[in-house]
């Protein structure tokens, strides 16, 4: 009982907690080896097989999801299309520069779709917009904290 008490006291020490947590997490992760892991192939927002678009010389590879600007919607298999009335339009949109780039070269699909109007924009800003609110809030808060601590405590401003 006495040694048990000592162990219990030791567990309350903050310095040991991350390591303890890591061990516990490791034990749970090992379970992952034991159970069957398989991908359910009916997923939301599926994408074409890797490299299939670029091998087909599609200048918009790997993010071409169909659709033409302002006429036809792209194919986006969202969870609740009924809550996103303009779904697919964002994916079909290409900015004028992007159209220029598309005509010039075959290999700039990523850049084209990282500029406004890509599929990722559709997901990040439209159908799953709240994720990005949080994501950028997390970054902002982390930065606020870091810069506050840096400005007030850790930055060597006195030597200037």
């Amino acid at each position: 009982m006495k040694s048990l008490g000592r162990i219990w006291n030791a567990l309350a020490n903050p310095d040991r907690i991350p390591r303890l947590y890591a061990v516990m997490l490791g034990i749970v992760l090992i379970v992952g080896f034991l159970i069957p892991l398989a991908l359910n192939d009916h997923q939301l927002y599926p994408k074409p097989a890797p490299q299939s678009q670029i091998n087909a010389h599609n200048p918009l590879a790997p993010y071409d999801r169909g659709g033409t600007l302002f006429q036809e919607r792209g194919i986006v298999k969202a969870q609740y299309p009924q809550f996103a009335p303009a779904i697919g339009e964002v994916t079909a949109y290409l900015s004028p520069i992007a159209i220029l780039v598309k005509k010039t070269t075959l290999y700039f699909g990523t850049s084209i779709y990282s500029s406004p109007g890509g599929l990722i924009d559709e997901i990040l800003y439209y159908t799953r917009g709240f994720d990005t609110v949080l994501e950028s809030s997390i970054l902002m808060m982390a930065f606020t904290i870091a810069s506050w601590v840096a400005l007030n405590f850790t930055m060597r401003r006195k030597e200037d």
């Binding site: 192939d41 303009a86 030597e159």
Partner: protein, 222 residues
Amino acid sequence: MIVPDVVSPVVVALYTPAIIVGIIAGLIGLLGIAVEKNDLQILILTDLVGISMMIFVCAVGTDLAESLVLPGLVVELAEILAISEVLMSREIRRNGKEVALIPLPMHMDMEILDTSPVVIAILLIAVGAFESGFTGGAVAGGGILFYVLSRTMRGVPSGMWEGIAGASGISWCLWLAGFMVFFVFPQYWLLALFLAAFGVFIKVAFKAGLIGVIGREEFKKE
């Protein structure tokens, strides 16, 4: 059909090995954390755990998974940033801030720091501006970071710091406005898209640039 109904068989076949690799990587990282005594080393090792997490997410192999990798990345970055600052603050308090008293002459003659920064920074910012959004923000931020880091001017006026931080706060609001437009007036989705993309871009780029300012305080002391 340009987009298939189901996930491609390649991805399905790769899923199990990917997850196994993720678990192994995570286990190695966690093992390292479990045996490590040094606080800083644990912080470095958490990077491995983050990588394992990203493997888990991207193994799903859909567009959704890709867009979920991005928040994971950002969270990792944000937490490392904040926590390393806390660690330094703690150590400075514990040591009574003796560092600042010793002057540090430092001579760093690196050719690359004199010639290349402008070009690289401009290139990166140009690429980032074209891409916009998170990716562009991070890329352009890398450019700004590099530029700021290699300039020789010293000292950040507190006002400027707060100004830049404020600008990125405002762009965050811009972004939020875009987000609201998406749901309130879906017919103006294009406007919303641009608001969102460039709001996030400005925000992320500025933040990353400010990291460079902090870094310069450390490395480029004359």
